[in-house]
C-alpha cells in the first residue's frame, strides 16, 4: 500500500520529512486508527486511575475472609463480590465466571490476529472463517457481561444491612439487595458507580467492535476487499479489537484482582 504512493520527481534532498513520501510507512487509515486508540487509551486510563484513587481513599477490609459482610465503611474484596456462575445458584465460585469471560475475550483476540494474518495473504476463505470466530467470541463476551451486570444489579439472596441516605434525603438503615447508583450491598456507593461506568464504557466499545467486525466479515465475504485489492480494513478493525482486549486486561486486574 505504501509503496504505490511514492511520488515521482521528488528530489532526494528533501529528506524523510520533506514531503512526497510516507515517513511512517503506514496508510492514512491505519495512522488515524492508532491516534484514535491513543486518545481512547487516555480516556480509559483516566477512568481506571480514578478508580484507583477512590479505592485508596477507603479503608480495605481487614477481618477474616469467611466473616465478610458488605458495608459502605470499607472497600469490598472482589472475589467475595464476583462469585456467581450462571445455572449454579448459591454456589460460591469466586472469579470463575470472570475468568471464563477473560478467556473468551483473549481467544477472540487470537482469532482476530489470525484473520489479520490471512488478510495479509489475501486469503478470503481464511479471513471469513477467523472473522466469524471473532464475532462469535465478541458476542459471547457481551452476553456474559449482560449476565454479570444483571447479577450485580439484583444481588444476593441475603443482601447486606446498610446505613445510607435514601432518595428522599432520609438517613435509613435497611437490608439492601444488589446495586444501583445510590447504594449497593457490596460496599461504598462509588464501588458500584465505578463498576457501572467503567465496565459499561468497555462493553460499549465491545458492542461497537462487534458491529465493525460484522461489517468487515460481510465485506470480506462478498469480495469487496478482493475488488479493492487489499485487506487493510481487517487490519484496522483488528487494531480496534485488540485495543478492547487490552483495556479488558486492565479492567480485569483493577476490578477483579486488586
Amino acid at each position: 500500500m505504501s509503496a504505490h504512493s511514492t511520488a515521482i520527481g521528488v528530489s532526494s534532498k528533501r529528506g524523510v520529512w520533506g514531503g512526497g513520501n510516507e515517513p511512517l510507512k503506514a496508510s492514512y487509515g491505519k495512522l488515524m486508527m492508532w491516534f484514535f486508540l491513543l486518545s481512547d487509551i487516555f480516556t480509559f486510563a483516566a477512568f481506571l486511575i480514578t478508580y484507583l484513587s477512590i479505592r485508596v481513599s477507603y479503608p480495605a477490609y481487614e477481618g477474616p475472609m469467611d466473616a465478610f459482610v458488605g458495608s459502605n465503611e470499607y472497600w469490598p474484596i472482589p472475589e467475595l463480590v464476583f462469585d456467581a456462575v450462571p445455572f449454579l445458584h448459591g454456589v460460591h465460585a469466586p472469579l470463575v465466571f470472570v475468568g471464563i469471560m477473560t478467556f473468551i475475550l483473549i481467544s477472540s483476540s487470537v482469532t482476530m490476529v489470525l484473520a489479520v494474518e490471512a488478510g495479509h495473504r489475501n486469503d478470503r476463505n481464511d479471513v471469513v472463517k477467523w472473522m466469524l470466530w471473532t464475532i462469535l467470541g465478541g458476542a459471547t463476551f457481551l452476553g456474559c457481561q449482560a449476565w454479570e451486570w444483571s447479577h450485580f444489579i439484583h444481588g444476593s439472596d441475603a443482601g447486606s444491612i446498610m446505613t445510607f441516605v435514601n432518595g428522599l434525603g432520609q438517613n435509613v438503615t435497611e437490608t439492601v439487595h444488589g446495586a444501583n447508583l445510590m447504594v449497593n450491598e457490596y460496599g461504598p456507593a462509588s464501588f458500584a458507580n465505578l463498576f457501572f461506568f467503567i465496565t459499561g464504557f468497555h462493553g460499549f466499545h465491545v458492542t461497537i467492535g462487534v458491529c465493525l467486525l460484522f461489517l468487515c466479515f460481510y465485506q470480506a465475504a462478498v469480495g469487496i476487499y478482493d475488488q479493492r485489492g487489499h485487506y487493510e480494513m481487517v487490519e484496522k478493525i483488528g487494531l480496534y479489537w485488540h485495543f478492547v482486549d487490552l483495556v479488558w486486561v486492565f479492567v480485569f486486574t483493577l476490578f477483579y484482582l486488586i
Binding site: 515517513p23 511512517l24 510507512k25 503506514a26 495512522l31 492508532w34 486508540l37 491513543l38 487509551i41 487516555f42 486510563a45 483516566a46 486511575i49 480514578t50 484507583l52 484513587s53 477512590i54 479505592r55 485508596v56 481513599s57 477507603y58 479503608p59 480495605a60 474484596i77 472475589e79 469466586p94 472469579l95 475468568g99 477473560t102 478467556f103 483473549i106 481467544s107 483476540s109 487470537v110 482476530m112 490476529v113 489470525l114 494474518e117 495473504r121 489475501n122 486469503d123 478470503r124 481464511d126 478482493d226 475488488q227 479493492r228 485489492g229 483488528g238 487494531l239 485488540h242 485495543f243 482486549d245 487490552l246 486486561v249 486492565f250 486486574t253 484482582l257 486488586i258
Partner: protein
C-alpha cells in the same frame, strides 16, 4: 479501468506457519500469565506486594498485546514512539491521583 482489471484477481499466498506458530505462542503466554494471576489471587496474602505483582503482570500482558497482536513492534520507530511517548503523561496522573486518594483517606478516617 486498467487498475481495476489488474486488481480484481488477487494472488493468495500460502500460509506462513512460522507466523501462525508465533501467534499461538503469544496466546499461550497471555493465558499462562492470566492463570498465574488467578493462582496468586487465591494463594498469596493481600497486600502491597501482591498488588505490585498484579500490576507488573498486567503491564507485561499489555506489552504482548500491543507488540505482537497489534504489530506495534513492526512499525517504524517514529510511529512507535509517537504512540508510546505520550503515555508518559499518565505517570503524572497516576502519581497525582494516588496521592490525592491517600490524602482523602487521611482526612476521612
Amino acid at each position: 479501468m486498467e487498475i481495476q482489471e489488474n486488481k480484481s484477481t488477487l494472488e493468495v499466498t500460502p500460509r506462513n506457519d512460522a507466523k501462525v506458530k508465533k501467534i499461538w505462542i503469544t496466546a499461550g503466554i497471555l493465558l499462562a500469565i492470566t492463570v498465574a494471576e488467578f493462582i496468586m489471587a487465591f494463594t498469596m496474602p493481600r497486600g502491597l506486594l501482591l498488588y505490585a505483582l498484579f500490576i507488573i503482570l498486567t503491564v507485561w500482558k499489555a506489552k504482548y498485546i500491543m507488540m505482537e497482536f497489534m504489530h506495534l513492534g513492526d512499525e517504524v520507530k517514529p510511529l512507535f514512539y509517537s504512540i508510546i511517548v505520550p503515555l508518559i503523561f499518565l505517570v503524572w496522573l497516576l502519581i497525582a491521583l494516588a496521592k490525592e486518594g491517600t490524602e482523602i483517606f487521611m482526612m476521612r478516617w
